[in-house]
Each structure stands twice: as structure tokens, then as C-alpha cells.
Assembly symmetry: C2
Homo-oligomer: 253 residues x 2
């Protein structure tokens, strides 16, 4: 593998600090009160919302750019981001509409070029993050996924695509370790899966299938204070969970 | 959705015909004589091989670019291509090495800039395609995936990543309709899955699991002329296969 020092081999005087016409957008999902939520930014002096995103620098990988941009724009750090799709249509949204809405904030010349956007998504534990807005925005807020406003750019479409990718992930990788508290009941885990799939699941089948993934540990502790019989608490076995993330739960083993 | 006519809204005089610093590479996989093979190009006057790839035009989507580039560089048409990963490291390969090897073919100035590459893969029926080289290349040839030469750029790494993505696909989507002839036996289908996964599978489990996907039709016809008992022939049910491609074979239904 070549070394980073090779960068000195790139003396192109025309290269700007940013990769031209390449951006990325982050769909950050959290789970709270049985609802899947997404983190949105409200642009300064407007009622316009969008995903946190931005351009890639010449000196960073696209993955590094995703972590930097998420941190700069929301204050969130140490969150695992995953590429899921490239949004590469020639016309992704109505440019003149965006220009009118945001020209008080950003040099309109920046809107003239088409940009390809790399979509990333992240799953975070809602209670552990304290998002904060950046220079361009007044507010950084969680929104219920089933009750989103009309977003800037093609961001409603990007969120839909992120959810589709997450539903696919349920077929071969576990989901939940960053979306639930450390200890949870089987019905709580089921409600997370139901929120992602957006449909009810049969409790008995769910119980059997999720246990067959062999990533859960049942604790001796039970949930107290409910109206019915106290259910067992579970937690993820971190090692097995990580291995399943890496290798997938292959149906054809 | 905005219309393509909005393109006239993009009068930026600095925009060139190509998106700067954005390319794509196509890993085209075929299956022949129990081996998974990949289509490679040999550059004119060299012994250097690479995947078919190229830059994206301002006037086409990245998906359109992938189809155009594959056709221009290999003659292949009407092949379903699928995005699987963005290769966005700052240093993806040794630039001076590439410059030395290819400067007789391409303006060296073009090598000075870092490029992000979008990886696509395709699965094709080996017997039905007749690939042909382009202006830059002398030869377009199938190579056994387990016996590849050292390729230009980071293309060995891209092929590895394509295989990893294809193995994941086996968890939620069927594979085979473009890799096998119309009628095939269960052992032939198993050998395809074994070639993709690169490990042996238990015939009885494979038989049971693949039938449970509900995408195969058993024909009354049997394979004749073999040394042993003639096995049944199968074919894919196109409608059910397409539906499974679209929706995935969800484990959590």
C-alpha cells in the first residue's frame, strides 16, 4: 500500500481544498418511546430543515469526511457511520428553489454545480447524545420518522433510502446495540424491529428467530414495576454481536 | 421531481464535460466450468490488466455512466449493474507507478488528481456475452477469480470488495438468474453458491434452504447422459425471482 507521504506527488495547482461536486449526507437514526427518529438541522433564520451534510476535503477519505462533517454540524462524535448509497442523478432537486431559500447563508455560486452525494447512516442511542447546531443552523433536533416535514434538497428521498438499507441489513446483520439501552426486554427489542420494518411481527416467531442469531444473553434480572408479569431482561453479547456485524448471520452456513 | 430541462439552469462556465475527480469501476462476474470469473481489460502495448472503468459526464447520472462505460469499454450491453461501495481513500494506489505504466496512452496530467471511484458489480451468463476491447486496450478477457494477476490501480481490492458484497447479497436476495443457463440441476446451483462463498456446502441443507426461498420450479425433464442417476432440472420462476430481488427474502417476515 502506498503511503500518505505520496500526497506530495500531487502538486496540481488547480486542486482546490475541496473535492469539486462531491458531497455526503448523514442520516442519523435514534429510537425513543417506540419511535424511530432522525436528526435534522434547521437553517439559520428559516423554517427549513435538512440532514447534516457537506463537501469532502482533498486531504481526507470520504469516510473521514463523514465523521468530520457529522461532528462539525451536530456535535456528535464516536458514532459508527455506514455508507449505503450514492445519489448521483443529474438533477437531484430544484436548484432555483434551494438558491432562493438559502442564498442569505451561502454564496449562490456554490449552488450552480451538480453535486453527487454519498449517503451514510448511523444508529445511535437516543438518550446518550446531545446534538448541537453549527454556524449555519439554529437548531439540531430529533424528528419522528413517520412525521417528517418537507426537507431541503432530496433529503426526504435519502432518508427513505436509508431506511430501506437498514431493513436489508436486518437480513444479515444484527441491529440494536446502539439503539437500545444496555438492558432491554424482548418486547422492547421487538418494537425496535417493528419500527424499522414499519409492520407488526408475531411475538413467538420473533422470539425464536432473534434467539437463533445467538447474540443475546438472558439476565437473571427481570423488569420490575410493570402491570403484568415482569419480563426477563436481555443484553447483547458484544463479542458475538461484533462477529455477526463483521461476517453477517449467513443463512447458507 | 424536477425535470431534466432544468439543466439549462446550470450555466457555470467552469463546468467541464466530466465530473472532476469522480470515476467508477465495474466488476463483471461470470460463472463457467464451476469457476467464478471476472472480466478484465489489457491496456494497449502492455501486459497490464484492469477492470473496465472511467469518469462520469456532467450530463448523465452515475448509474447511466456505469452502463455507458461498460458498453464503450467491453461492448457489453443490457447488463444489470449494481452499486456496492465507494472507494474514497486519499491515496488509493501508487500514482507514479501508474503514470509510468500508462503514460504512452493517457495524458499524464490526468493522473495528478485523486479520484473517488464508485464500485459497481454485475452478474452475467458467461456463454451469452462476447466482450470486445476498446480504444485503450488490446484485449478483453475472462479471468478465474482465484487466479488473478496483480491488477492496475486498486482493482484487486475492488474485486475482493465486490465478492464480499455478493456474499452478503446471498443473505437477502437470490443469485443465479444471470449466472446459470436457463435449466440447471441442484448440484450445478450448489456449485455456483460454493464458488461465491468459496467454501463447500452440505447438499441436503442447501437443497432444503434454496427450495424454501420459493423461487425455483422443478421441471419434469431430467439431465441425461451423466454417469449416475439423471438429476432433475430446475429453472427460476422469473416473477418470484424478481419479487425476491426487489423485496429481499426477509428472515423476519
Amino acid at each position: 500500500m502506498p503511503e500518505k507521504e505520496n500526497l506530495t506527488y500531487l502538486p496540481n495547482p488547480e486542486a482546490t481544498e475541496l473535492l469539486p461536486q462531491l458531497t455526503l449526507d448523514c442520516t442519523v437514526l435514534g429510537f425513543h418511546q417506540d419511535q424511530l427518529r432522525v436528526l435534522l438541522l434547521r437553517w439559520k433564520g428559516t423554517q427549513e430543515w435538512s440532514l447534516p451534510g457537506g463537501p469532502v476535503r482533498q486531504t481526507e477519505s470520504v469516510d473521514e469526511a463523514a465523521y468530520r462533517i457529522l461532528k462539525e454540524r451536530t456535535g456528535l462524535d464516536q458514532i459508527y457511520l455506514q455508507q449505503f448509497e450514492v445519489f448521483g442523478e443529474v438533477i437531484r432537486y430544484n436548484l432555483s428553489e434551494i438558491k432562493n431559500k438559502l442564498e442569505h447563508l451561502i454564496d449562490p455560486a456554490l449552488w450552480y454545480n451538480r453535486a453527487v452525494s454519498i449517503g451514510y447512516y448511523a444508529l445511535v442511542e437516543y438518550s446518550k447524545v446531545n446534538p448541537a447546531p453549527d454556524l449555519y443552523t439554529d437548531e439540531c433536533q430529533w424528528w419522528e420518522i413517520k412525521d417528517l416535514p418537507a426537507l431541503l434538497f432530496d433529503h426526504n428521498k435519502i432518508i427513505e433510502a436509508a431506511l430501506k438499507a437498514l431493513r436489508r441489513q436486518l437480513n444479515w446483520q444484527p441491529v440494536g446495540i446502539n439503539l437500545l439501552p444496555e438492558k432491554f426486554t424482548m418486547p422492547e427489542l421487538q418494537r425496535l424491529y417493528e419500527a424499522i420494518l414499519n409492520r407488526p411481527l408475531d411475538p413467538r416467531n420473533f422470539h425464536r428467530k432473534i434467539l437463533s442469531l445467538n447474540i443475546l444473553e438472558r439476565l437473571t434480572e427481570r423488569r420490575k414495576g410493570g402491570a403484568f408479569k415482569s419480563p426477563y431482561l436481555y443484553r447483547f453479547n458484544k463479542e458475538k454481536y461484533e462477529a455477526a456485524l463483521e461476517e453477517g448471520n449467513l443463512s447458507f452456513i
